[in-house]
Symmetry: C2
Amino acid sequence: MASVRKELPKGFRWAAVKAGIKASGRPDLAVAVADTAATAAVMFTKNQVVAAPIIVGREFMTATGGRVRAVVVNAGNANCATGKAGLDAAYATCKSAAEIFECPQNEVFPSSTGIIGVPLPVEKLLAGLPIAAAGLGSRPADAEAFAKAIMTTDTKLKVSQGCVEDGANSVHIFGTCKGAGMIGPQLGPPHATMLVYLFTDLAIGAEDLRGLLGPAVESSFNSISVDGDTSTNDTVLLLASGASSVNWDAASTAVRSSFTKELQRVCDELAHAVIDDGEGATHVVTLDITSARSNTEAKTIAKSIAHSPLCKTAWSSADPNWGRLLAAAGYSGVEFDLEKVRITIEGLPVFENGVRAEAFDEAATHAVMREREYTISIDMGQGDGSCRFLTCDLTVEYVHINADYST
Amino acid sequence: MASVRKELPKGFRWAAVKAGIKASGRPDLAVAVADTAATAAVMFTKNQVVAAPIIVGREFMTATGGRVRAVVVNAGNANCATGKAGLDAAYATCKSAAEIFECPQNEVFPSSTGIIGVPLPVEKLLAGLPIAAAGLGSRPADAEAFAKAIMTTDTKLKVSQGCVEDGANSVHIFGTCKGAGMIGPQLGPPHATMLVYLFTDLAIGAEDLRGLLGPAVESSFNSISVDGDTSTNDTVLLLASGASSVNWDAASTAVRSSFTKELQRVCDELAHAVIDDGEGATHVVTLDITSARSNTEAKTIAKSIAHSPLCKTAWSSADPNWGRLLAAAGYSGVEFDLEKVRITIEGLPVFENGVRAEAFDEAATHAVMREREYTISIDMGQGDGSCRFLTCDLTVEYVHINADYST
């Protein structure tokens, strides 16, 4: 994924500074500011345990009905399971940002990502905020600095851009996210450590914006998994500055449809980027479940396979061990008739009529599974429910990354 | 776990031969025969996809009401997802054994373990059966031969024995099992690739025997997990020959209680042996969940932690990263109040009152986690539900074992 291109949505400025929270010493405090309060829609993790910034963000979004002037993100510390001190730190950060940007405190949106349970050094954030404010800009380099500062174990910059034309006018979308491990998002309406920030200059009301975000998230960020570990901090925030000349209420059906598709494309591209950068991943696997009894059951089967250590390790060696796929589908809790199930890998027949496909070619199947990306299609033979789910393999490198404790 | 000791239950004989199914060339066909039909209770996997021997075993156990003369187990091939040919192979094996042991076909209990989806070379089983029959014996070496032949990726022999005195009489229990990977058993009444065979010479009816097996399995084999991958072949079979002079109906409450406890101890010991031999495992972790709203919710929390790649990799490096425990509990689907949760590791305080315990000593906690076995206790502060769940860490070796496909 390349760097940020020109043509960013109007009405926003970005900046990042080194606040000294990341052990690496890299930039770790990212700030995005709307020229005037932006319309906002948000989805938070459904994890029962949520970080302090999620609690504060929920409260503020409810109070404002969906209005954000400034986004303040720190990486290197999740500010989760940090008790009252953690909440105080999140409030203090918002209060300081509100004073700097001259807005109500509840128009500041806080986010954190990093280790759980370690007190957040809030004084470092407070010291960094004025410096970040002084450095705000609307150039690609500014947006890119924001995108880089939110990274933790990520190895790649994750950005995506979109544009919709409406006659002589145009609306732009800029999205960025971070996340490589503890990725098994389950996002619900006003409820990551996947953090996603989407910016557009469309003029739109909060309710319509929420209506656009839900479906876009369901088939993108809610349909991916690296390790299935749903984070305490996952957040997807969509801000609309209204600085373009395109207004949702006045827009034609064609423009509305184009914007919806472009938002989906940006979300899909970012979700793909998360899996492509999955900790230790060497293969990106699309699970295409079709003919299930419902979309929900299709996703349940996909998740069972995506979280199976046996399936994931087989993928790491391009092993067409389809028995593991069947076993994982079988313990998903979904009822089905094995005789009706049909499995193909990149279109190559693997399993049908209750047994290994007659045309199964182990060498050919192994060959397609050596590609970095491929699709496993499972036709359940039951109904019209379906799901496309993106996941990755489980490698020795994943274990190394997450077992790095040294005495 | 040592070899088989003397004092085996009376009324049984065991044997094993090399039928040529295991690629290693080791013994792979195990036979156990009761002198006269034994009372039998069984629990099979709840996986929707089940192997041919499970389908046949279910049918036969229903037909006989719980009566088994011979058990025929092959290792090296699961005979699962093998269609009609697989069913035919299982029936043919039972038919052949029935002729050899002169019993009804439905008194033969078939089991298979190994790779899924590869046709079972039934001619090898049929050729091996007479040789096994000729070698049957009731010495410890015979029972041990049975226990060794059922092994696949196991590195250790798994056997356990028990004895209950009833005045001058005594009842014996011999149990053996196999399993190291694809271990996340969910066993239900007449519904494994964990295979467990329990033999006793108690005289007891089938209904009473089933009543004993259920609870013994629930807190042992149904409360362990290596990788969470519930197999298509899991089976726990308990046979009672009645060859001792102790009869359940006539036994005192004290003797009944002693037998129930001894059966539980044998199941617990075998379940522990499975985790201790978990693929690549370097740590055996007991999750002791207490004060949950129900036993079911306690087990849901335990399983969520036991299956979390982030928790499991942290254990591999003895990392007291308790935030991962909280995150996994948080996405389990169980509701709880973080402020009331209390976590200790081997009794050392880790988390309480919503934050890292004041007395948390990272070095000391890391030290206890370097032991091969330790307990993580989580008090949910809600009710009186509890669960003790046994699991292991996720290591580079697990990935190597399960990603061994070579071109």
